[in-house]
Amino acid sequence: MLFPTITFAVFFVVVFLGNWFLMPFPRHWRWFMLAASYFFYGFWNWRFVGLLIVSSLANQFFAVRIHRAEEQSQRRAFVAGAVAVNLGLLGYFKYYGFFIESVNSLLETMGAGTSLPLLQITLPVGISFFTFQALSYVIDIFRRKLEPAPPLDFAVYLAFFPQLVAGPIVRGTELLPQFRGRRDPRRIDASRAFYLITIGLAKKVVIADFLAANLADAVFASPGQYGSLEILVAIYAYSVQIYADFSAYSDIAIGVALLLGFRFPDNFNAPYTAVSIQDFWRRWHMTLSRWLRDYLYIPLGGSRGGALLTRRNLMLTMLLGGLWHGAAWRFVIWGGLHGLWLVWERRREERGTAPSLATPTSRGLARLATFHLVSFAWIFFRAPSMANAWEMISRLFTEWGGGVDAITVPILLAIAVGIGAQYVTRPAVDRTLAGFSQLGPVPQGAVLAAGLLAIDALANEGVAAFIYFQF
């Protein structure tokens, strides 16, 4: 079920009513929310609800075993088992084809006449997200930061529909206590929720889908048809598209959760205002960044083992982070580029050669440079093949005499709005929300209806799936 659809709107009104009416009856509330979440997930493919149930049962089994084990060796064995099961499921559904194709390609190169069998495996929507949530749960129990939740609580946590398919990656330590606490139906942070949902819808259907349909998709598919300037603008367009698309899902998810009385962590904080790659990763997909930091980078040793080991850990983290995004070498290169730049920035810091950001000009230049580095890496992320990525890069520098027909004023406007909106400050938004919150329910509804009019009228016909669903 996609967020920007009438189906979801009807579904959510029903869930909203059930959520608040059943709140005084915690057990009924849990069963209701679990059923609603499975229904939401099953709308894509009912078979995968079974996978979600299996994942819930398996992880709860390991969580309880880890908690009850008295010996550290037993605890280690159980957490290793949990990691193996989770990564095994993820590997089978997401990486089997990639692995076998890579091995077969290698065998072919070596002249071996054999090839491993390829299976037709459908990738369950959102498996990367709920697998990471499950891993954080069992690892936090292993680290004694969390106690096993009742099985029903854990099942609701893993399947909770607002963040199930594309994040934010909410940890058990953040959400499970909220299930046990009492939410106040008289004090819903609804103004912010409506703002996030409306902005999210606009970003998705007006900005992201428009840029994809009118420039980015075509140029990345057939770069040989376009000149350097068109390719450059298409890269900018994709930078804005992926931000608008992915942050839109997070905005809507956070807004929907707020209306149900739950707080999710922020996932984006104006990433294209970043002054360095390190700063970018503090602002982009923040819940993934901190997951990788806490469950991969730090266990690898973090920055505790000296400069060389720190660089190795950074590179490994970013390479695996790249692979998490997609089963293709292009994603590994994307992660590797970010890893290299992070290593480079850290080296400059260690040597004291990092540029000063004291003046507005230096900060502006740093933002410009960071945006272009990030945009360059997006080429590998978006291109359908390595050949296309190299062709994009090659033509970016060699076809300045080429056409500009594909660049239109609405495209430039959408790019400008997508980047410019990130400079709108939180206090400015809060002032608007404060004014909105003082209105009565009918004027508030009318304002939102006007927003729906504008969004639907400016949208492309039909709704494309969110980019991050495939991850």
Partner: protein, 334 residues
């Protein structure tokens, strides 16, 4: 009791009670539905015939009536006009079959059928005067189209462009009218040849002049043949050659049966037009056992929906189509 001091520049966002929030949501949804009522009707009309479409229309049409009566749809109309939107409708009764004559369904062939023997010589194509090739279709052209563009670019003598429309087809001109669209586009684009691939959304019942044409019946096949013929004739009025690509075998047996039926229509209509060539893709996507397989030659060809091409699939088909075009226009494929 201690009170928390609020900084002078800090604003207060008033939390709202659940009942208030529910009213806001209902007003917003109802208001949004009324403001966008005509678009809701259009969306409902595009759905396949069936219960879901009937329910959607039963909900959307009264809203549209109220919206129109109260002039609530005026802002949306104004925006649509300003953006040049709004789908022109045509009277589709003009293409309805007038008799119940039967059409013989023949099996889908696996080889390209060339019909150029008695035709005048095509112009020479070269780097200075490349072949203008337009690739059109539904979502099956999404990746096949760019793949063919990329392969065409490699020849150095073909200038190819893609114009595909998601969820479009030939069964439902009330949703997207390809012949009408092309009649306005082709004089501007002036391509030499067109590669067309359709059918992904066409295997559905069709309502026409109050009559339901059920998929698979002879009446449906007759109607579909008229639509395909109209499309080919529209194209051939403006271009020298049309290459009509049939659909590949599908994972679903039911869809495959419909594909065989539609491919037979494409092939038969192309055979009747000397400047049209039918290119079969059906066998090209079978595995060594003669069945559907998402992987062929160790590569991923079809998406998880069991129908659409991946990039590998798009290139596999492009490599089948381009030599046929090259053979007729006398250029080399690298």
């Amino acid at each position: 009791m201690a009170t928390r001091s609020v900084p002078p520049n800090q604003v207060t966002i008033r939390p709202l009670p659940a009942g208030h929030v529910l009213i806001v949501m209902l007003v917003a949804l109802l208001g949004g539905a009324l403001l966008n009522a005509q678009a809701l009707v259009r969306t409902a009309e595009r759905r396949e015939l069936g219960t879901a479409r009937s329910v959607a229309l039963a909900l959307a049409e009264p809203l549209a009536s109220v919206s129109s009566f109260l002039r609530i749809d005026t802002p949306r109309d104004a925006i649509d006009s300003a953006l040049g939107r709004g789908v022109p409708r045509r009277d589709t009764t003009t293409v309805a079959p007038t008799s119940t004559t039967t059409t013989t369904v023949v099996g889908s062939g696996s080889a390209a059928t060339s019909t150029t023997t008695t035709l005048p010589r095509l112009r020479a194509v070269n780097a200075a005067s490349p072949l203008d090739l337009l690739i059109i279709g539904d979502s099956f052209a999404e990746l096949f189209g760019p793949a063919l563009v990329n392969r065409s670019t490699d020849t150095g003598v073909v200038d190819a462009t893609v114009d595909f429309q998601f969820i479009s087809g030939l069964s439902r001109p009330d949703y997207f009218d390809w012949p009408a669209y092309l009649s306005s586009e082709l004089p501007e684009l002036k391509p030499d040849a067109v590669v067309a691939i359709f059918g992904g959304n066409d295997a559905q019942d069709v309502a026409l002049s109050g009559e339901i044409f059920e998929i698979g019946t002879e009446a449906w096949i007759d109607l579909y043949a008229i639509r395909v013929a109209e499309m080919m004739d529209t194209l051939l009025e403006s271009v020298d050659r049309v290459y009509w690509v049939g659909l590949p075998i599908m994972e679903s047996e039911r869809f495959t049966a419909n594909v065989v039926m539609m491919n037979a229509v494409y092939e038969a209509e192309a055979d009747e037009r000397p400047r049209a060539t039918y290119v079969s893709s059906f066998d090209l996507f079978k595995d060594e056992t003669g069945r559907y397989n998402a992987y062929l030659d160790g590569r991923h060809m079809r998406y998880a929906d069991g129908a659409h091409f991946t990039w590998n699939g798009g290139y596999r088909l492009a490599d089948e189509v381009l030599p046929i075009v090259a053979n007729q226009w006398d250029f080399q494929v690298p």
